[in-house]
Amino acid sequence: MDGTMRAESDPSGAGGQPDEWFASAKKIYPMAVHGTFRKIKWAVLFATLGIYYFLPFVRWDRGPDAPDQAVLIDLAGRRAYFFFIEIWPQEVYYLTGLLILAAMALFLMNAVAGRIWCGYLCPQTVWTDLFLWVERQIEGDRRERMLLDAEPWSVAKVLQKLSKHTLWLMIAWWTGGAWVLYFADAPTLVKSLATGEAPFSAYLWIGILTFTTYALAGHMREQVCIFLCPWPRIQAALTDEDALNVTYRYDRGEPRGSLKQNRKRVDEGLPAGDCIDCYQCVHACPTGVDIRNGTQLGCIQCGLCIDACDTVMDKVGKPHGLIAYDTDENIKRRMEGRETVVRMVRPRTIIYAGIIVLVGAIMAYALVTRQHEGMSVLHDRNPIYVELSDGGVRNGYTIRMLNKRLTAREFALTVEGMPEGTRIEAVGISEHVDGAPLVTVGVDTTRELRVLVFSPAAAQLDKSTPITFRLRDTASGDTATASDFFKAP
């Protein structure tokens, strides 16, 4: 914008450009806290990272013809394994179900107790927490870190910074390493990674995840939550006055003031709140927000300000819970002198829980009744039928048979809905039982065959006869069916 145009748009002459279109991120030095929510966060961190780093090494015996890794995504073989579950690419709708469940669980968490995901479970939060712990071990707590950063460079400072970043990079590298183990046999891959024989893509992905972990958890931290993540924006639509959010109880805290100021106010007969304006909640906050301004975009609701405030309340001899999980509704009620109320069962939570139960039940049903054999049929298009010299008619089909079991199986292929004397042949299959071709389908794979159906010579056939192909496991008796038509002149 030049001056002339500005003058037109702002004739008052007060216009102009501010100094900064872009602002440097203010570095945040979160203070260490101790208390209930810190303990919960440690427990969640151990559990989630423990699962992430070690799950690929868990074994699960599936027999000699299948991988024995409990959780494995075999991209080359196009199979996904999860303990007793194995899915094929066309069964990716299970993933759809999982995503619906995940979304609904997120919504439900939010309706019950705010951003539990953000505060406790999100990888960004968990890894940032871990990286902060490392930082604290090396550079000390908030005050020491601030002083260190303000200090001029010295050998000691360089050593501290160097060891911090080295440790961070090692954790990040292990994070990337664990990721690739979900896509190949973990012990084998670890060995080949160590000897430098692993595929290039493994090293590439380890590199990518090392970089993202190091950058996001070490350097970006709260910037990710505030500027990159959509969840804080969605969250506003999912919380309500009955949801338990990390809340500064301003009905109790205000008017805030230092201990001295507040004592003076009491002496003067003026009201004084419990908040001593010590800023411990702000200093403890990993995103650097002031919870006393209310629920806000930057607040990931990790509860660390609750621990920080409770510690201070102990020191000044006031009860815990100036900052606590509470609802907007209750603050209003307390201010009006009414009973507080906790309404966890309300339409919002019932609907979310209902959808979770419903989708979960559908998925469980689909999984339990999952067929381990299948068949798809494609009728010849040209010609749709062939007249034979004996007066009979022949139709050709391409049939693909699926065997999802981890052993090779023998199937008998029959056709139903045709008159007596109908013959069925599969090209390349010479073995028959009662006229049904016996097809062997290998371990966990499919087999495509050309199948011919011959009507008896004297049969009176409609132009189109609905028929059913049946594939029956000769050992277990399990069957799969597929419908098609038999065409005639």
Binding site: M1, G3, R6, S9, D10, G13, A14, G15, G16, Q17, P18, D19, E20, W21, F22, A23, S24, A25, M220, Q223, F227, D380, R381, N382, P383, V386, E387, L388, S389, G391, R394, G396, V427, G428, S430, R447, E448, R450, L452
Partner: protein, 292 residues
């Protein structure tokens, strides 16, 4: 910064304005983080690196190829070559296997069917049709009426050397032109055509002496087509009781063929296609359904 700039703060949000105003609406300045800007710069640098490394700028008659020399066309060609090499390998297995082995071995059958389908479309469909139903003069390969035999070996033989193709090994048999060459007169031809038609399920024309026709048949045709009219595959004499005729199934068509015989040609494919493809074609045609 601009002269005369006075910082203006929006009194509701407490946020500085950008100084832009539209009918009283002022834009707030919530500055983006600097790293956001740096990432934008980094993407620009990345793009420039990309120009250097990969093909990017169009020139008048070519383009900047990039230092890596990467080319999608070359990649596609390489993938094609690799596929062909793999195909050649399976093809070799196919050549060494017997036709029966190919049909009863899953991996070989799958390859032969795919290979055969493609080769059929490229080489055979022009005459026999994409569905292999044939046409007048071109045999139907779907039905069970085979002039030279429909077993795997017989189909393979026909495919390799053809029929009346001029190849040394070609199948050879010729229908004489009884009318044109004066072996039968017009009356006899009408009689024999009606006799053959009557045995193949065609209503004979009125007032024809079928017994005379049978006599003509026995003396002239039965040597190849047999006393029972069932033909003889050794010489390629078609079954005259079949429900389809190569050159049309009507009294007129039979008359035309007896008078002035057409003897179509099937090319020999052994000199044109590699042995694996010819074998694949034999398996494919046999598997269409009419194979014996």
């Amino acid at each position: 910064m601009a002269d005369g700039y006075k910082k203006e703060v929006d009194h509701i949000s407490g946020v500085e304005t950008t100084g832009h105003e539209w009918d009283g609406l002022k834009e707030l300045n919530n500055p983006l983080p600097k790293w956001w800007l740096y990432i934008f710069y980094a993407t620009i640098v990345w793009a420039i690196g990309y120009w250097v490394v990969y093909p990017s700028w169009p020139l008048v008659s070519s383009y900047t190829a990039g230092v890596l020399g990467d080319s999608q066309r070359a990649n596609a060609l390489a993938a094609f070559e690799a596929g062909m090499a793999e195909r050649a390998q399976i093809g070799e297995t196919l050549v060494n296997a017997s036709l029966e082995e190919i049909e009863s071995t899953q991996s070989l059958l799958e390859f032969a069917m795919a290979n055969g389908r493609a080769a059929f479309g490229d080489n055979c469909a022009a005459c026999h049709g994409t569905g292999a139903l044939g046409a007048t003069g071109y045999p139907n390969l779907q039905d069970d009426n085979w002039i030279w035999g429909g077993s795997l070996e017989e189909i393979h033989q026909t495919l390799q050397y053809g029929i009346r193709s001029g190849h040394d090994e070609a199948r050879f048999g010729e229908m004489p032109s009884f009318g044109a060459d004066g072996m039968l007169d017009k009356e006899q031809i009408i009689q024999v055509a009606n006799f053959v038609g009557s045995r193949a399920g065609i209503e004979p024309e009125a007032g024809i002496d079928l017994a005379a026709g049978e006599q003509v048949y026995a003396e002239n045709c039965a040597a190849c087509h047999g006393d029972d009219l069932k033909g003889m595959k050794e010489v390629g004499a078609p079954d005259l009781t079949a429900n389809s005729y190569l050159y049309g199934k009507s009294i007129d068509a039979i008359r035309a063929q007896v008078t002035n015989a057409r003897n179509g040609v099937m090319p020999a494919w052994a000199p044109r296609l590699d042995p694996a493809t010819v074998k694949s074609l034999a398996v494919y045609v046999h598997a269409l359904g009419g194979g014996e």
